[in-house]
Symmetry: C2
Subunit: 362 residues, 2 copies
Amino acid sequence: MSVLGGIALSFSLSAEPAPTLKDSLIRLSSNENAFGYSPKAQAAIVEALDGGSYYNRNDVADLVELLAEKEGVPSDHILTTAGSGPLLMMTAIAYADPEKNVVTTEMGYTQLIRKYDEMGGQIKYASLSEDMGYDFEAMSDAIDENTVIVYICNPNNPTGVLADPIELKKFILSVPKDILVFVDEAYLELTDKNFGMLTIAPMAKSLDNVIVTRTFSKAYGLAGFRVGYAVASPKIIDTIKPYYMGPPSFIAAIAAQEAVKDMDHMIYNVEAYQKTRAYVCDKFDAMGITYAKPQGAFIYFKTGIDQQELRDSMKEKGILISGSRESGVIPGKYQAWARVSIGTQTQMDLFLDTLSQLMVKG
Amino acid sequence: MSVLGGIALSFSLSAEPAPTLKDSLIRLSSNENAFGYSPKAQAAIVEALDGGSYYNRNDVADLVELLAEKEGVPSDHILTTAGSGPLLMMTAIAYADPEKNVVTTEMGYTQLIRKYDEMGGQIKYASLSEDMGYDFEAMSDAIDENTVIVYICNPNNPTGVLADPIELKKFILSVPKDILVFVDEAYLELTDKNFGMLTIAPMAKSLDNVIVTRTFSKAYGLAGFRVGYAVASPKIIDTIKPYYMGPPSFIAAIAAQEAVKDMDHMIYNVEAYQKTRAYVCDKFDAMGITYAKPQGAFIYFKTGIDQQELRDSMKEKGILISGSRESGVIPGKYQAWARVSIGTQTQMDLFLDTLSQLMVKG
C-alpha cells in the first residue's frame, strides 16, 4: 500500500521529494508537479473510496462553496470542471463565429485558440515585447470590431513571463465591454510575487466581461484527478454552459477541498518551485543560456540546438522536455528554443548535466 | 483507513453488502450500485494514488486498448469519456439543427434529448407498446426526411423494459443510412438475458451509422469516478469529437481496467441485481402493484399515489426514490407512477415496508 507510505512522509523543504511516477522517464515536458500533492488530500481520497459506486452527493457543491469563499464571490460565479481545459474549450465553442476573432499574444497557450480556429473562427496574434512579455499596446491595436474574446495566459505559457499587474488591469479596463477578457491563471500561484496583487479574480466579480480560470493541476499537484474552475459572472457562465460536459469526479472534488485547506502544503510547493526555478536560472546564467524570465512551472530557454534534435537527445538520456511552441510567430523563429518544466532539484541537475554535455557536443 | 477493510472483505453472494455511502438517506433515486465496485479496482486506485500529480501516462490509452479487445473492434472505434453522459451531449450538440429532429421513444432517457432541444433542434416521440416496451413500427413512422438521430436506451429508462434483440436489429437495419442510430446500453449488463445476444456493439463495428455507449457507473459500480465509452466508427467519432472535453481521469481509467478484468465481481454484481430485482417484483405482485417489466437497475411502478407525495413521504422515512419521468407523454399521464432503484435486499425491504404503510394510509 504505497499510499500509507505517502501519508506517513513528513514533508519538509529541506528533504528532496522523490519523483512519484514509477517506471517513467524523467518528465519535464508537461508542467506536472514533481513535488506532489497534499498528503491530507490523499488521505481524504482513501477515506472516500468505499463510496465510489455513488455519484457524488454534495462534494462538488461543497467545493463550489469553498471556492466561492476563497475567491470572495457568490457561488453562482464559480463553475468547476475536469481541469481548466474544458473551460477554455467551452468558451471557444460558445463564441465561435467565422466572422469573429480572438485576440491573443503570439507564443501563448493554445487550447482555447486551437479550438476557436477548429470551430472556424479567426485568430489575431499580438506581438510580444522585447523580453517576451506582454505588449498591451499591441494587443489593443489588434482588437477590432469583430473581436469577441481577448485571451491572456498569465504567467504566459511557454514563455513563463508574468504581466505587470497594473498594466494588465488597465488594459482589461480599456477593452470594450462587449468583448470577453479571458485570463488563464493556471500558473499564477507559482510566481515570486504576491498572488493577491496579481490575480484578476476580483475584476471577474465586478465586471460582466471578465473570466478567470484556475486549475488544481499545477501548484496543487492534482493533475491526475482533473479539477479546475472559472470565476466569472453568471452571464458568462450561462453563455458557455451549453457545452459543459459535467463536473469533476467526487474524488477530485474531495481532493481539491483538502488541497485548498492545506495551506502548509501549498506554501511548501510554491517555495519548492521558486527555489528550484531560481536554481536553474543561476545555472543557465553560468552556462550563458538565454531564457525568458520564468514565473510559472517551467522555463523557456535558448540553446542554439535545433529543438527537435535537443528533445530527441534528451529523451535518449531518459529526460522528456518540450519543444519550441511557436504559436503566432514566423515558423522556425524559435527553432533553437525549448521548454523545460521545473522538477525536483535532482531531476534538474540531471537535465542541466545532460544539457551541458549536449551543448559541448553541439 | 476504511479502504483496507473494503479490500479485505471477501465478497460472496450470500453476504448482504452494506450501503457504502456514509451519513446518507437510503439512495434509491439515481440508479447507483449499492453492491459496490471491484475490490481489485479499489486496490489499484490506492496503488496509483502517489502518482496523482501527473497527468495520466498510458492509463487512458491502455483502457482504450482493453475496451477495443473486449468489444472486438479496432481501437479507433472507442472513445472514452467521464461517464457516458458526455457522449450523449456531444452527439446532441454535433447534430443540432433547428430544421432537424431526433426520433426517440416517449418515456426514455432524456440527456441527449434535452441537449438537442436546448440547442434548438426538434424532438419526435414515438409511442411505446402496451407493455411499455418498444414499438418499432411507431419509431419507423416517426422518422422523416429531417431526422438526423434515432435515440434508443436499452433497457429503457425509466421503464426498464428490454427490446427484443431481433426486432431491434431489424429496426436498426431499416433506418436510412444517413441517420445516426444511437443505442445507449447503460444498463444492458444487468438484464436476465445473454448480454452477447443483446448488444448492438457488433453492428457499430460494421455500420457507419450506429453508435453504442456504455458506462462504468452502473453494473461496474464506478459512478463516482466518471468513466464511460462509445463504440462507433471513426466517422461518427470524428463528428462528435469537436465537443469532447477530455478523457476520464487516470484514476478512473485504472479503475475501469481492473473492473473489466474482474469478471468474478461483475458476475457477483449482476446476480445481486437479478436476484434483488426479482425479489421486489414478487413483492409487488403480492401487493398488487403494477410495474413495467424491469431489466435494468430500477423498477418503474404504479402505486396510485401522486408521485410527488410518494417521494416526499418516502424521504420523510429516510428513503430517496425518483418520480414519474414523463418525457414525450401527456403531462400527468404517469403521475401515479414512480421509479425505485434496486439497492441491497435490506434497503428494498425497508422501501417495501414503507410503501405498504403509505398505501394503507393512502
